[in-house]
């Protein structure tokens, strides 16, 4: 009994693993690649990694907000298939070389023996690394299989050779030779049968070794598929953290321990790998024990051993233990279904995901309007491009234009740089504080400058300060000011908005919201609402509006509110845009735009909006050099336009065109054209594009640190 227990437990563990291998991806409650940066609970907000037993995250999440349970379930299949293939090839190659060592001419046997020993001497990790480094940072699955097979077949060959050598010392071998049997018939009739029970155990052993090796390689940074880069910081040139993409167990373990005080991911993944290894070990031990129980006549083939052991076990165990065993096995398959019954019906097109990915980027740009709709001028070609004279110091913000065509921006000194159109000269006026964001203009063409310490000042285009005031919350300002048609100023202070009237009189401050990065306050098309991230406030008194239903216990909602150029407010959830009817502040969805994005990209859109004609658009920043601009046309298939990930979309024109720049060039794309229909090279030596704005004459102003360029239709 004591030995069969190993067999039972080993089989039970590996059965569950087999179920997950076959159906783990389908059973996973979430998309294993889906990231979230914040979740909302009844008690407030929390950032990843989410702890164990967080609603919706039974085993918690990693630091990128990816569900560990889903990743483990989905990662079982590629891992197990990989190690099955590796173990099989190791067995085949090892057996061939082991037999070649014993059944070949002496000179060949000598060379083969030396080769086997040379491979065996080298630690498997070194051997695998030898192959993997050749593939660089992105070794694919085939490379991994080659690396793992190459480094491990030597052990199998050695064992097979030793076992065959022992067989050749037995009388049965001498008898076969004496009776005139050929080498081939000895191999087929005798050696094969002699080695058959060994193959099963060696196969299990090699699977176990391969899994351990895969985990070690993952720890060293060598992932199947090469991993993904997640942007963690940076401006024009993003800085990325390398982390796992394909949820494979080795890399899961490797990337799960990046925060020492949040080791739950490591415990879960490491424990699961240890459980699989334990299953292999117990099954191997059980088989070994079982073979010693079996009559000699049945010692042929692994399958017969397993069948015989199962029959023996079934005939001797009490019935309740059999029932218990069946319950355990069934639970392995049923529990996931039960646990995840509340999940969304699909993880692709119909899923209304509970999280919104907000890219924590510091890319600055000028909004075409106070609503931040990215609305731009019609992008007809050709155009004239004028490079304005170089400013005395480098520009630090986007330049904006008044009605006369004069420009204003910040310099790095810091100072206020004003370009007079008439004289075509820059004038610089020093600032006593460091400004944040971009300058804004009031209806009277006063320049509103926001300092990081919460100091707000208004200047005219002669550089004379007209008024100044400070925020009352004593918090730092994190974005430039937004000004409405009445001259009211809205300033973001970390996670709140403060408002002042046109005389500088303080009006109100909003409650705190959950924010990541710099968010400039936006206005609804009619100017009655103030938008900050996912929250909406009354522009009259700053009160938070109950625009959205409270989240349920199993649901997170952090929708992003955007202002469409068509005059509507939109709620962006995942890859969908919901047009909101905010009459009486009742959140009624009028229409919805979306596309089946999860089959194409693993990222949430970096930016999105709606044109004046009601056409939605989303910008995706993938990795590997390919991003996407997606047009969402009502009742039609989405149109995808691949763009370079270094491109930042500046404007979207109502006619179905967008304007994007990177540090080398600016391009425009039309809705029906997969290729750029206009391209402009930026001056040599451009280090980055700070952003762009639209002048009052519908000209486009591109700002780089070194230059300002004006593109006129």
């Amino acid at each position: 009994m004591k030995h069969s227990l190993s067999f039972i437990v080993g089989v039970a563990i590996l059965t569950i693993v087999a179920v997950l291998t076959i159906a783990g991806t389908a059973l996973a409650p979430r998309n294993p690649l889906e990231r979230s940066v914040v979740s909302k609970t009844a008690d407030g907000y929390q950032a990843p990694p989410y702890p164990i037993s967080t609603p919706g995250y039974i085993l918690g999440s990693d630091q990128y907000g990816r569900d560990i349970l889903s990743r483990i379930m989905a990662g079982t299949q590629p891992t197990m298939l990989t190690i099955i293939v590796v173990a099989t090839f190791r067995l085949i190659i090892g057996t061939l070389f082991g037999l070649l060592r014993q059944f070949s001419p002496a000179s060949v046997a000598l060379i083969v023996g030396v080769f086997i020993r040379a491979i065996t001497y080298l630690p498997q990790l070194f051997g695998a690394l030898l192959v993997l480094v050749l593939a660089g940072t992105s070794p694919q699955l085939g490379v991994f299989i080659v690396a793992l097979v190459w480094s491990g077949w030597g052990d199998v060959a050695q064992i097979i050779s030793q076992r065959t050598a022992k067989f050749r010392q037995q009388l049965v071998y001498d008898a076969a030779v004496s009776s005139g049997a050929t080498q081939q018939s000895i191999l087929v009739r005798h050696v094969r049968r002699h080695l058959a029970p060994l193959w099963g155990m060696l196969w299990l052993r090699e699977m176990s070794n391969s899994l351990a090796l895969l985990a070690m390689l993952g720890f060293l940074g060598y992932f199947v598929g090469g991993a993904q880069w997640i942007i963690v910081a940076g401006d024009a040139v993003p800085i990325g953290a390398r982390t796992s993409d394909i949820p494979e167990l080795g890399q899961l373990l490797a990337t799960s321990f990046e925060r020492v005080l949040e080791p739950q991911a490591m415990f879960m993944v490491g424990g699961y790998i240890a459980l699989i290894l334990l299953g292999f070990n117990l099954l191997g031990d059980g088989l070994r024990t079982r073979m010693s129980y079996l009559p000699r006549a049945t010692r042929v083939g692994l399958w017969k051993q397993v069948v015989f052991a199962s029959e023996w076990w079934a005939s001797r165990l009490p019935r309740w233990q059999i029932i218990l065993f069946c319950v355990v096995i069934s639970a392995g398959a049923i529990v996931p279904f039960v646990s995840f019954s509340g999940r969304s019906a699909s993880m692709t097109s119909t899923k209304t995901t509970d999280h919104i990915w907000q890219l924590n980027t510091t890319w600055r740009d000028a909004r075409a309007d106070a609503g931040g709709s990215f609305r731009g001028p019609p992008l007809a070609v050709p155009r004239t491009v004028d490079t304005l004279p170089a400013p005395p110091h480098e520009l630090a913000s986007v330049v904006i234009s008044n009605r006369a065509g004069d420009l204003v921006g910040y310099s790095t000194t810091p100072g206020l740089l004003i370009f007079e159109q008439r004289t075509e000269r820059w004038s610089e006026y020093p600032l006593k504080f460091k400004p944040v964001g971009n300058p804004s203009l009031t209806h009277d063409e006063e320049i509103v400058v926001v300092g990081a310490q919460g100091f707000i000042a208004e200047y005219d285009f002669d550089g004379i300060q007209r008024s100044s005031y400070t925020v009352k919350t004593r918090a730092i300002a994190t974005a430039g000011a937004t000004v409405d048609n009445d001259g009211n100023v809205y300033v973001t202070v970390v996670d709140r908005v403060e408002s002042f009237d046109h005389t500088g009189e303080w009006r109100w401050v909003t409650p705190k919201v959950m924010l990541f990065g710099e968010h400039q306050a936006q206005l609804s098309p009619d100017g009655d609402l103030v938008i900050l991230g996912s929250e909406v406030f009354d522009a009259a008194d700053g009160a938070r509006l109950p625009l959205f239903a409270a989240p349920t216990s199993t649901e997170f909602e952090n929708p992003l509110i955007i202002s469409g150029a068509d005059g509507y407010l939109y709620q962006r959830i995942s890859h969908r845009l919901r047009q909101l009817d905010v009459q009486n502040f009742t959140p009624t969805t009028i229409a919805e735009l979306g596309w089946n994005a999860n089959q194409v990209t693993m990222f949430f859109p970096e930016r999105s909006g709606v044109t004046a004609h009601g056409i939605g658009w989303m910008v995706y920043k993938g990795f590997g050099g390919i991003g996407r601009f997606v047009w969402l046309i009502p009742n039609q298939e989405a149109i995808q336009i691949p763009i370079d990930t270094s491109m930042n979309v500046m404007f979207v024109a109502d006619e179905g065109q967008f304007f994007a720049c990177n540090m080398r060039e600016c391009i425009t794309h039309s809705i029906g054209n997969p290729n750029p229909n206009w391209r402009m090279q930026l001056p040599a030596g451009t280090s980055k594009v700070i952003g762009a704005s639209v002048g009052t004459t519908q000209d486009i102003l591109i700002t780089t640190p070194e230059h300002a360029l004006r593109i006129t239709p």
Binding site: K2, P123, L125, V232, V237, A274
Partner: protein, 300 residues
Amino acid sequence: MTCCIPIAHLLLYFMVVWVSNNASPTQFTLTPFDVAWDTYRTTLPHVLTNTYLFPGTDAPLLTQISELSVRSLGLLSIASMVAMLFGIGSGTLVSRHLHTAFPRWFIVMTSAGNALQSLFIASSGVAFMYFIIVYTPYQPPLPIHGFGWDAHLVLPVLALCIRPMMSIALETATLFGAASQEPHVTATQARGLSKAHILFAHLWPAQAQTIGLICASNIRQMIAELMLIEIIFGWGGLGEYIVRAIVPPKLTNIAPVAVYLDAHTFAGLGVVVVVLFGVIEVLRIVATPRHHWAFRTDGV
């Protein structure tokens, strides 16, 4: 000893790559091959003449390598000694009744121990100690990282030796169990000799060579795991520098993603190592006449 030559060369190469990485980490304009080869070519004469100074310590590189080697080999030798002593000891203990069946605790212990990877044990140990530091008013009983021939050794040795220990124990017990069914053991039992006498006077000498091979095989794996352990515990041995030389960066500028390592040279040297092993083996066999007779029947 001849095997040490290619190993030393490979380790030397790792050190040179590491030095080049730290000395000029921004040479993105050149290909990794150009950078590594150029550094290798210009640095090697200084290294061989022991005039190349190790960054940070200003000690000659070879002297520094010697010191780091002592650290690594010290940790490895202590861990392997613990693994062998306790592994063989527990394997012998469960075989004292000369049965093929093992106690259940032994099966559970060895199966679980074999399933625990060193990096998992190490990471768990570090996390546990940090937990004590952060969430309790007490100091951790053991140092989490750093180098020292005292308490700093405990966690790394534990992480490194548990799996090999369990493996050696299981293999030893299996060997003794199988050997106890041999006719000569039955004969000695029939003669009335004690089990302890049979175990130590008859079984041990017969199985010592095989047990030695098992230990050697496990130490081979420990060498690979040593690199990971040194990284996790900040041990400061050779393994840590090797890993730094070969591991792709985790945080980098996305636009010019580049791996410092010269992959071709590394792979080429790896092949050289394997070939050298092979040549050494051929020479060994050719120089030993008895191998001509024995190699066909005594296995590989």
